[in-house]
């Protein structure tokens, strides 16, 4: 049952949600735009797979953290735009706090002096 997309989702579980919510904090955006924003924002390090992005968007919408509506893009292309809801903003704050705690903790472990060899 080697599903490479599912593996990615697991890899980025939580993190991708945080990245999406964070991206939407700057205003409504469609799926392609979000993926580009994450790619550029990370200095091309993070490449979000569509197979992870769209399930995540639909899941977040079901949770009520984001809302979607159809808009016409600047070149008259019908696109589905996502925007943060009030609940989403709160969720973003929570996830940010959690992420900072986690990264502090990990950083702490990585920065601690190596135990000397016996």
């Amino acid at each position: 049952m080697g599903n490479r997309y599912q593996n990615r989702i697991e890899l980025l579980q939580g993190t991708l949600d945080l990245l999406i919510l964070q991206t939407l904090q700057w205003g409504p955006q469609h799926g392609y735009g979000i993926s580009q924003a994450i790619r550029l924002g990370s200095g091309e390090v993070l490449q979000v797979e569509t197979g992870s992005l769209y399930p995540a968007l639909h899941r977040l919408e079901r949770e009520g953290w984001i809302r979607s509506e159809w808009k016409l893009s600047d070149n008259n292309q019908r696109v589905k735009e996502y925007r943060l809801t009030a609940a989403g903003k709160k969720q973003l704050l929570d996830e940010r706090t959690r992420w900072e705690q986690l990264s502090d903790a990990i950083a702490g472990i990585l920065a601690s002096p190596r135990r000397s060899e016996p």
Binding site: M1, G31, Y32, G33, Y54
Partner: protein
């Protein structure tokens, strides 16, 4: 549905927008359109899969997915119609049998009775030694005693079933009637359609003769006359005033009762006759148990006051429903159990079919897994297909049940099933059917679904080929299911076999009638009462009939009596013999025949001693009686009974003396399966008149064809005489076994269905394993194995399955057939003959089911088989 389509369309559009935005960006960065599109697609990945995983987020129970699975399932089923039809029919058979029996069980046993507060109404009986009938009737004296001492019921009444002849302007008609106390209708909450029912006090000796009629009778006999109320009709010769019409929905005490007459109860002179059934409504807060113990207390008082009449007297208080349907309850639950077995076998069969099919579909499953379908997804898909089959099976089953229930209601021999009008295919049956269907299909779908989805996709894809390779564990599952099927059908066959054996035993019982039953026609002739109250006129009426019937061409002999072998007697009573000390226990109540001369000669009941009755045995003459062989043996073991004096009933009643003038052969009147001694005694009608008689005619030709001529002859004598129940003795004897035959036929057909399904199951497994092992057989034959070796190998496999199933089935049978004990007549539940026969039949079927595919295996051409993959 639209919502889901739109959602799907929007997802598609969203992803397409993503792609075109990406292409636009790339073109803007200077790539050619072709390169941009290719790169964007590569970067995007598999559009179908992205859609699939995104849809997963719409929720597990998404109806959309279900519809998609349904559509796919229907397509897959349409692609293999043979499988689909086989599965749907198999399930339909199992489900339909269950739906049919469920509707019978519900209608008869569970549907609430249509009376007000029916759950608190009791029927009350009397049971005392030596009659020992738990449903014995009360005498009027007992009713008055009970009523006087009652503390537990707030209403107490009586009723008795009967028949009445309506004579007068229209054609005479005999209808099923009941005599009732005035409170019966209010006790049951029966409200008349027009007019009134009886009111308090209308059941006294001084009351007028009144009648309430049923709606059907009102329309049929009286043309729905709106002015019927207050009219006087002749009921069995007595003028009776009609006061009300009950709606067609009111049935009591019998389904067919359509005439109710008020009792006019006068204080009784003696304890007896025992004609009455008690009916009563519990006071608030009193339970049936309390009522029973209080009523038994009253019974003890009655017994103490009448020590010569009663011993071990109890008054059973039965809830109305138990009294109405209690005797068919065990049989119906047994049938329900039996059809559950049939369904289980059908289910195992379909599971086996699905399993075989899913093996063929392993490549399909592997491809789907390779494309990213999860195991849950596959199980769900396969289960959906099973449930689709189950739902089709439910429709087939409902159709089957509809036919079966109709047939059952029409067949219902001699009104065996009570409340047959309450059996309907209503919404409860539909719900039951679909619940069973879905549950069943989920169960039979789960095993194959789990197995199929658990297989390793790499292996399946590599192996290729149609069969997808040989799988021992698959075959093991198949075999286990087949063994289980054989075991289940063996249990059913054993049960049916026991019932068949006991039916055969029953039919071997001699009724005691010497004449060929086919050649004896009987019909019930009622002399409408008032005209013949003068006994001399009544006897002359019977005599005239006999004379003119004997004159008809083709008639060999004619006679009359008020009893009919093998299961009809009108009266039974104790008796006493001069010179022998009397006690209730020593002289049990015994059928009493009131016969016209010619009865014994017509039925060819042998005369063992003395003489038959003759025309000389008149009212004014010397009282005479004939006794049966077993009565003679019991009371005159070392003595010649002829010349002894006998009296009817107990000595203190001082009935007229009767001299024993003859001993005749024993005849069964209390049923072929009765455990009672076939004792009986016979008095001449001229000396103890009864108002209705069975006319018996023995003829040289098929007796049934004589009926119209005989009826004309009777009506020529009296146009008001009611003649009915025409049947040959052959039919009477056959009808008397209708209940066991009914059970046996039902259970037998279930068992045959089970056998057929099990045979198909074994055949399927062997055929499947032969198909799997074609290559192996080719190798064996190429290496020198003879066709007979291969044949033995394959048939042996079938035999092994059969043997395993038979052993398990036999053990289960020994445990389960015990529940049949009450239905068996002179056969033990462990009857070795039945069990051995059934085991042999199943073994044979298993071998045969293996032999057919084995022949195919033998015809395998080794060179072709080796190239098979």
């Amino acid at each position: 549905m639209n919502f889901f389509r739109r959602r799907d369309r929007e997802l598609n559009e969203e992803l397409q927008a993503h792609l075109s935005l990406a292409v636009r960006d790339r073109i803007a960065r200077g790539e050619s359109r072709a390169d941009a599109e290719a790169a964007a697609h590569r970067e995007f990945g598999n559009v179908g899969l992205v859609k699939e995983v995104t849809r997963e987020m719409w929720g597990f129970a998404s109806l959309d997915r279900l519809l998609q699975d349904l559509r796919f399932g229907l397509r897959m089923l349409a692609k293999s119609p043979a499988f689909t039809i086989a599965a749907v029919l198999t399930l339909g058979l199992g489900i339909g049998a269950n739906a049919a029996i469920f509707s019978v069980v519900y209608g008869v046993l569970l549907r609430p009775l249509a009376y007000r507060d029916a759950g608190r109404i009791a029927l009350v009986f009397m049971n005392f030694s030596p009659q020992n009938s738990p449903r014995g009737n009360l005498s009027l004296a007992d009713y008055f005693d009970w009523k006087a001492q009652n503390r537990c019921f707030d209403a107490i009444g009586l009723y008795a079933n009967g028949v009445q002849e309506i004579t007068g302007d229209a054609t005479p008609e005999q209808v099923i009637s009941a005599h009732v106390t005035a409170n019966l209708f209010s006790l049951l909450g029966g409200v008349p359609r027009i007019g009134r029912t009886f009111v308090e006090g209308e059941d006294q000796g001084s009351s007028a003769r009144l009648a309430v009629i049923g709606e059907a009778l009102w329309r049929r006999h009286f043309g729905g006359d709106p002015n019927i109320l207050g009219k006087t009709v002749m009921l069995s010769g007595d003028p009776t005033t009609i006061v009300g019409v009950m709606p067609a929905t009111f049935h009591f005490p019998r389904q067919q009762t359509e005439l109710w007459i008020n009792y006019r109860l006068a204080p009784p002179k003696r304890r007896g006759p025992f004609f009455f059934t008690g009916i009563a409504h519990l006071k608030p807060g009193v339970s049936f148990e309390q009522a029973q113990s209080d009523t038994n207390f009253i019974a003890r008082n009655i017994e103490h006051a009448n020590p010569n009449t009663y011993a071990r007297l109890t008054m059973p208080v039965l809830p109305l429903r138990d009294a109405m349907v209690g005797n068919v309850r065990p049989a119906l639950w047994m049938m329900f159990g039996a059809v559950a077995f049939v369904l289980l076998i059908a289910m195992l069969n379909v599971a086996n079919l699905t399993l075989a099919r899913s093996t063929v579909r392993r490549r399909e499953m592997a491809v789907r897994v390779g494309l990213g379908a999860t195991r849950l997804r596959l199980v769900r898909q396969l289960l959906t297909e099973s449930v689709v089959i189950g739902i089709f099976g439910a429709f087939a089953g409902l159709a089957f049940a509809w036919i079966a229930v109709g047939a059952l209601q029409r067949w219902n021999p001699t009104n065996l099933l009570p409340r047959v009008g309450d059996i309907r295919l209503d919404w409860r049956v539909v719900i039951f059917t679909f619940a069973v269907a879905i549950l069943t299909s989920a169960l039979f779908g789960l095993i194959p679904a789990l197995r199929a989805s658990a297989s390793d996709p790499n292996l399946a894809l590599k192996e290729g080929g149609r069969s997808g390779g040989f799988s021992t564990s698959g075959l093991r599952t198949h075999s286990a299911l087949a063994v289980f099927e054989i075991a289940l059908s063996l249990v059913l066959l054993a049960g049916a076999g026991l019932l068949v054996r006991s039916l055969i035993e029953l039919q071997r019982v001699q009724s005691g009638v010497g004449a060929e039953p086919r050649h004896v026609l009987s019909m019930y002739v009622t002399a409408t009462n008032a005209k013949y109250r003068d006994v001399a006129k009544g006897v002359a009426f019977y005599q005239n009939i006999l004379d003119s019937v004997r004159a008809l061409p083709g008639v060999e002999a004619a006679g009359m009596a008020d009893l009919r072998p093998p299961n009809w007697w009108e009266e039974d009573d104790s008796f006493n013999i001069d010179g022998q000390p009397w006690s209730q226990g020593a002289f049990p109540s015994t059928p009493v025949g009131h016969v016209m001369p010619g009865y014994f000669e017509t039925l060819q009941i042998p005369l063992l001693r003395g003489r038959y009755l003759t025309d000389a045995d008149r009212r004014d003459g010397h009282g005479v009686v004939l006794i049966s062989e077993s009565l003679a043996r019991r009371y005159f073991p070392n003595d010649n009974p002829l010349g002894h004096i006998m009296h009817q009933s107990q000595p203190e009643l001082h009935t007229p003396p009767m001299e024993i003038v003859g001993v005749v052969g024993d005849v069964k009147y209390q049923g072929l399966d009765s455990k009672n001694s076939p004792m009986a005694y016979y008095t001449p009608v001229a000396q103890s008149f009864v108002e209705a008689q069975f006319l018996y005619v023995r003829s040289t030709r098929a007796a049934a064809s004589l009926a119209p001529e005989i009826e004309r002859a009777i009506h020529a004598i009296d146009r008001d005489a009611v003649v009915n129940q025409e049947q040959t003795l052959e039919v009477s004897i056959s009808n008397s076994a209708s209940e066991p035959r009914f059970r046996t036929t039902l259970l037998g057909s279930f068992a045959l269905a089970a056998l057929l399904l099990a045979a198909i199951g074994v055949y399927g497994v062997i055929a499947y394993s032969v198909a799997q092992r074609t290559q192996e057989f080719g190798i064996r034959m190429a290496l020198g194995a003879q066709p007979s070796d291969v044949l033995r190998l394959v048939v042996g496999k079938g035999a092994a399955l059969g043997a395993a199933g038979v052993v398990i089935g036999l053990v289960a049978s020994l445990l389960l057939t015990r529940t049949l004990e009450r239905f068996l007549f002179q056969v033990k539940t462990t009857d070795p003959l039945t069990l051995v026969t059934v085991a042999a039949v199943l073994g044979l079927v298993a071998i045969l089911a293996g032999y057919l595919p084995a022949r195919r295996a033998v015809r395998v051409n080794p060179t072709i088989a080796l190239r098979y993959e």
